[in-house]
């Protein structure tokens, strides 16, 4: 394997890892504040990407055609609308089930994911076909021997990094973040200290869902195509990544995202090399199988969740 091909793989792996990490951070935030899994997260991401696409078409129609302006407005619309959707989901589906068995929350959000997915498929114009996503980033590239560095990929990677760092700073450095962490640690005590519990929960779901929308846009810009089904796989991968890292831990989620994309890349490269005749399409089988095996070894992830039960 040449150096160029190898660096291509590494770069691709970083890119995917960034998207996965953004999804996983959402899962981990929700789990942190409410101890629930919001499984519709991947589908929220998909709806975010479609909201961005619809905004783009709307902007084209009213004659805004500067790519930068389009991109910023798309990102803004997608992020805000998905943040609102996330908050609505939390208010009307997740919070009412707080006292029910935790599995019910998982189920209700799983079903909501199906509703979102099917709605886009049925009600978005020709929603069941893959949609081309506009190329809005500069398409310059730098060549290093056989390896070409595309400017759009670098921009996406940096944007993802910026979003994750921003959320991290929000959580660790601001008063709002302090409130989020307080609710995560002990909702009861946080309430006694005068923190508006419901507001913080809704806000956290909003932030996480906004991140997912950004992830969806990145995914669309990177592949130049979106379809209604990307949410399910990205959701499961994001969930696996969050679990690999250890639920409730933001560093774990980032680490998990990159570990998962590394597993996929290793699967794509190593399987055909080790067993001639196998196709690279087995990479997902390989990655998921390793996640299952990994869970048997470390049931609560790399950075383990501290758990003790009082009876």
């Amino acid at each position: 394997m040449t150096f160029g091909l190898l660096s291509q793989y590494v770069f691709n792996c970083l890119m995917l890892g960034m998207i996965y990490a953004m999804v996983a951070v959402g899962f981990t935030l929700f789990f942190g504040v409410l101890d629930v899994i919001k499984f519709s997260h991947g589908d929220v991401l998909m709806v975010g990407a479609f909201a961005g696409l619809a905004t783009y078409i709307g902007l084209q129609a009213i004659g805004v055609d500067a790519p930068l302006a389009q991109l910023l407005i798309m990102a803004l619309v997608a992020t805000l609308s998905m943040a609102l959707l996330g908050a609505l989901i939390a208010k009307y589906l997740v919070l009412p089930l707080r006292l029910a068995p935790p599995l019910n929350t998982l189920l209700i959000t799983l079903m909501l994911g199906s509703v979102l997915r099917e709605s886009v498929r049925l009600f978005y114009p020709q929603g069941s076909n893959p949609k081309p996503f506009p190329r809005l980033l500069p398409d310059d590239s730098l060549a290093f021997g056989s390896f070409t560095l595309r400017a759009d990929s670098v921009i996406l990677l940096l944007a993802g990094l910026a979003a994750i760092v921003a959320v991290h700073l929000l959580i660790t450095r601001t008063k709002l973040g302090l409130a989020i962490r307080a609710v995560a640690q002990d909702a009861e005590t946080a309430r006694i200290m005068g923190i508006n519990f419901e507001f913080i929960v809704l806000l956290t779901f909003g932030i996480g869902s906004g991140m997912a929308a950004l992830g969806g846009l990145m995914n669309g810009l990177y592949y130049n195509e979106i379809n209604f089904g990307i949410g399910l796989l990205l959701g499961v991968i994001g969930f696996s990544a969050a679990v690999l890292g250890g639920l409730g831990n933001i560093y774990g989620a980032i680490l998990g995202g990159f570990v998962f994309s590394a597993l996929q890349s290793v699967g794509a490269v190593a399987l055909p090399a080790l067993f001639p005749g196998t196709s690279t399409a087995y990479k997902d089988v390989f990655a998921f199988a390793l996640v299952i095996v990994f869970m048997a070894w470390r049931p609560t992830g790399l950075i383990a969740e501290k758990k003790s039960e009082r009876v």
Partner: protein
Amino acid sequence: MKRLLNAQSAFPALASMAVLTLFAVLFLHADSQGAVMGLTALAIVSVLLLARFGWNTLAAASFAEHGRQAHAAVLLGVLIVMAAFYDNHFPLLMLASVLLYIVVCLGLNLQFGYAGVVNFASAAFFGIGCYTSAVLVNHTPLPHILIVLAGGLMAAGIGSLLILPVLRTYGHYAALITIAFGILFRVFLEVNDTLGGPQGMKVPGMEILGWKLNDGLQFGELEISFYVNYVLLALGMVAIAFMLVRRLERSWIGLNLDAVRLDETACATFGIDVARWKIAAFTLGNFLAGLAGSVYAMMTGFVAPNSFTFGDSLILVSIVILGGIGNPWGLTVATAIVLILPEKLQFIQEYRLLLYAALVILILLFKPDGLMPRQVRNYLPGWKP
């Protein structure tokens, strides 16, 4: 009259079954969309009206009281529906599919409803059964009855590998494992060329001791669809699986399973082996799914990865929740509704996943026990708390 309309008499249960059978025949017979919609509306309105007059609780009580007659009436009802469509392939295929899916859902009910082991990959275990029988029928001369058994054992075997990580984890982590397995299974089938890839495989019909199930019967003028064979086989399987699940639920095993679901910690302190009961429920449930799958493959003559998606697993889970978690009768009714309604109402077909998902959300929000909630065990007939 008073003597008949009483929970002590078998009349309410038998009358309900007779009406239900008649309705099933009419419903399956209805051709036009208008007739199907009218019948659906009629069913909803009359069930609501009857509930208002207390008929439903009366029928349920009488059903529980006269278990033997009531069960016989149900079997007879299925046979009557089958006889009504003796030469018509499509309704019989639907009937047999519903029966086989009931077996799968009974297995899922054991895992989900009794032991509380999450399984979001039940369609995958059903698929393991399908593919096992497809491969074995095509490539080995094994007798088909053994192949059906092998389908069940294969699903149980793969399930018992999966149970290791499921046991080590709890809650959401365990759910993730089964979800990941479901997706892994589907992707694996799609990329694996020996198993036919996305196109799937053809499966020849079943043959038990010289009885070729794919040959129609002929009595003089009377031609009988070969699906009658499969309906009979599936009905037998449902009866056995149903009996097994009901007996398990009533026995001390069922008590242990319930205890494991409700509180693992308390269970462990009382000396109940949590792991053992989880393994037992998970393996038995997957065995049932695999068994049904291998018959289903031979009946439809065709297997393809698209029938075993994560969405299909979700539909199976919705059936169990809609029916009322832990209630075998509830899931029987729910399976029939969920599978037959979209086949008859063509315009629903496209929207069915959307509708079920929305319905399950509403059920979880407003009636978390399902449409027919599970009753407390009744060990002494006629005993009132």
